[in-house]
Subunit: 461 residues, 2 copies
Amino acid sequence: MEIYDLIVVGAGPGGYVAAERAGELGKKVLLIEKEHMGGVCTNSGCIPTKSLLNAAKHFVHAEEGAKYGVVCSGVKFDLTTAMAWKQDTIETLRKGIQYLMKKSGVTVVSGTAEFLDTSHISVGDTVYEGKNILIATGSSTVVPPIKGVDSPIVTTSREILEIESMPEKLAVIGGGVIGVEFASFFSSAGAEVTVIEMMPEIVPLMETEFSKLLRREMKKVTFKLGCRVYEITDTGVNYTDAKGVNQTVEADTVLISVGRKPNVDGLEKLKTTQGFGLDYSKYGIAVNEKMQTNLPNVYAVGDVTGKSLLAHSASRMGEVAVANMFGKGALMRYDAIPWVVYSLPEASGCGMTEEEAKKAGYQVVSASMQMRANGRFLAEFGKKAGGLCKVIADAGSGRILGIHLLGGAGSEMIFGAAAFIEAELRVQDIREIIFPHPTISEIIKDVCIAIELPNQGETDA
Amino acid sequence: MEIYDLIVVGAGPGGYVAAERAGELGKKVLLIEKEHMGGVCTNSGCIPTKSLLNAAKHFVHAEEGAKYGVVCSGVKFDLTTAMAWKQDTIETLRKGIQYLMKKSGVTVVSGTAEFLDTSHISVGDTVYEGKNILIATGSSTVVPPIKGVDSPIVTTSREILEIESMPEKLAVIGGGVIGVEFASFFSSAGAEVTVIEMMPEIVPLMETEFSKLLRREMKKVTFKLGCRVYEITDTGVNYTDAKGVNQTVEADTVLISVGRKPNVDGLEKLKTTQGFGLDYSKYGIAVNEKMQTNLPNVYAVGDVTGKSLLAHSASRMGEVAVANMFGKGALMRYDAIPWVVYSLPEASGCGMTEEEAKKAGYQVVSASMQMRANGRFLAEFGKKAGGLCKVIADAGSGRILGIHLLGGAGSEMIFGAAAFIEAELRVQDIREIIFPHPTISEIIKDVCIAIELPNQGETDA
C-alpha cells in the first residue's frame, strides 16, 4: 500500500493549494478529486462568473460608449460565444492546476474518496494510507423546501452557468453575493431581472449605505426587499412582500441563491481506530486556528469548515494547515480577509464595518468620500456615476479596522486594504504613503486624510 | 499689505495640495496661478490623457469584443466627443480644486507672480507678503533644436490635446512615458503611429523585459529604437537609424516628447534682503529632504525641483514642505514612489529594478511570472495576452525592493507595492496576506511565493 505524507480530499482552492505547498516542501502528496480540478471556484463559481461579468461589462461599454466617443450600432450580446469563452477559461485553468500538481510532485487520483479511518482512504478498490489527511470537500447550493422548487424553470448557480439561451425574465431568490453577481450579469446582458431578498437589505456583509448605493447603481435590476417566497410556479415566483401582501413576479427562469452548505456526507465513517468520530455538524467541521480537527493528523479547510466561504480563505487555510503539518506553524486569521462582489459596479471590502467595530468595543473614527471626487474616476465614469470609499479606524491608535469600496477597479485595490490591516498600519501611516496619480486608489488616502483623529491638532500636518 | 503665513506660486498638484494642507491647519494661505487650477496635470497632462486613453480602451473593447460575445458593427472613434468628455472632466476637476481651496480657506489670485525678495511677491500692481514662500512652478516641454522643428505639423503634448481631427500618420519623437501614452491612444483610436526613440529601449525606468513586452503588446505601433532625428519636414521626420542609415517616416502630425524642463524663469530676482540668491540651475531648484531651498523660509516642490517629475511626487513634496513649515516635520522619501504608464496595456512599478538593486549593493533575489497564469487575467484577456509581474527583494532579509507590473489594472494595484515598500514588508509577510480571488492582484503574492529565499528550507511553509 502506498503511504503518503498527506492525502487531500477535494481539489478546490483549499485542497489544491495545500497539495501544492506540501509538494513543494518535498512531501509525498495524494490529491483526490471526484470531478474537476479547481472545484466549484474554477468550474462553477468564481471563474465562470467573472468571465461572463467581464463580457457583460464590455457589452455595457459598447452600449454606452457614445458618451466617450465610441460609436457603434447593432450592439448585441451573443450568449453562446460568451459561454464558449468562459468554458475555454475554465479548461485552461484546470490544465494549469494539473500542471502545478505535476510540477509540485503531487499524485492526482480521480474518483470519490471514502474515509476508512484517520489514516486510510479508498477510491474505488484502492486503499491509500496517509500520515495526514486534509478534508477540503467544499460546499453545495442550499435548495430550500419551497413549494414548487422542482419547477422546470428553477436553476442553481451551477446550472444557470450552462444555459443555452438568454432568459427574458429572470427571478433571483436571494440577494447575497452570488445572487447579486448573477443579477448584474443577466441584467447587463439584456434580461429583465428581479431579485427577491428576505432581509431588509442586500449583501449583508456590506456597510448599509454601500448596499443602498449598489442597488441604485444596478439600475436595470428590480429589488424586492423583506420579501418571503412561498411558491415557485412554471411561470414565476409568488412571494409575500414586506407589508404582508402576496405578490407575483413573472419569470421564465428562477435562480435559487439563498446560501451554501458544507459537504459533510460520508464523514460519519471517519473514526480513529479506537472508534472516536470526527467533530462536525451540518454547519461544518470544527477546526482550531491551526485547521486541525478533533482527530489526530486530520485537518479540514475551506467551505467544509463553514467559516468564511471564500476561495481565498480556503487557500490560506490550506497554507496554514500545511504549515502546521510540516513547517514552522501558522495560525489562521479572519480579520484581514478581503471580499469582492463582482457586480457592475464592483463592491469590495476588508475588515470591519463601522457597526461591527463598535460592537467589538472600539472607539471608532471614520470618514467616507464620493468616488466622483477622484480625478480618474471622474475621467472614466463621469460626474453622475455613484461610488464610495469608507475607512474605519480605531480612534486611539489610528489603526485601520476596515476599508470599503464601491465603484472602479475595487476588486484589484482591496488587497492593499488587506495588507494595511494585516500589517496593522494606522491612518497616519497611509497618509505618508505615495499613491500614484491619477488613480482611483488615491481615494483611500484622501479618506484617511479626511478622518479626524482626536488630539490631532496642528502637529500632524 | 496683506501678510500670509504661506504664499504658494503655482496651483498644480504640488502647489494646491500644499495650500490645502496649510489651510486645513488654519494658516493664512495665498495661492497664485497664472493659468488654470490644477496645473499641467489637470489641464494638459495626467487627466486629459487618461480621459482619452479610457475612451480608446473602450473603442478597442468594442472592436475586439466579438470574442467575448459582444457583437456590434460600424465601430468608429469620434474624436470630437472624446475631446468634449475630456474637456468636461478637466473643467469639473478645476472647479473641484477651487472648491477645495475655498473649503480650506485658501485665497486664490489669478496672475503671474513676480518674486521681489524672500517674503514679497507681486501680482500685477499688488504686493503680497508671506512668512513662507513655496515655489511650485512646474515644468514645460523641451523642444529640441532640430532642423524644421517649426514645421506646422509639429505639436507638443499640450497642443496635441487640442487637435480637432484624428491624424492619419503620427510620428512621435521620444519613447518615454508621455510619448508611449500618446502613441497608445492614437494607435488604438485608428492612427498609424511610429515612435522614434534615441535610446536602445523605450521607457527607461522599466525593467528591460517589460519594455520589450510592452512594445510587443502595442501591436499597432511601429517602434524605431536607437534612432536620431535630424530633420522635421512638412511631410514627415528624417532620422538616422541604429545602423547609421538615413530614413524617413511620413507623417501629417509630429509629437515632440523628448522631456520636460523645470520652469525657473524669473527666479533670478528671488534674493534675500542681504542680496543672497536662490540656488538653482536649468535642471531645477536645489532642495533638501524637507523641501527647503538655500534661502530661509523659501521651499520648492514638484517638477521645478527637477526630482521625480510625477504629480503624486509633487503632492507628497507639498505635504512634506507644509509639515516642515508648520507641523511635526517630515522628510521626503524617494524609494517608494510608484509610477504608471497608462498605455494599453498599462505598465506600472514601484521601487527598484533588479539592476538598480544590484548597483545599490543588495544581494538580490527575484522572480517573475506571466500574467496568464492568473485566473482573472485569463478570464478577461485570454490565454494569448501578454502580461508580467516581477518582484525584487533583498536576499538576506526578504525585504521587498521593487514590484513591476505589465497588464491588467496595474495602475490601481501599484499603491499596494508602495505600501509594502514604505512599511518595509518582506516577501515572507506578503505570503501571509490574503489576496482576494479571483483578482489579478494575486499574481503579486504568487510571485512572492515563487521567490527562493536562501536557507528557506522546510521550516518556511
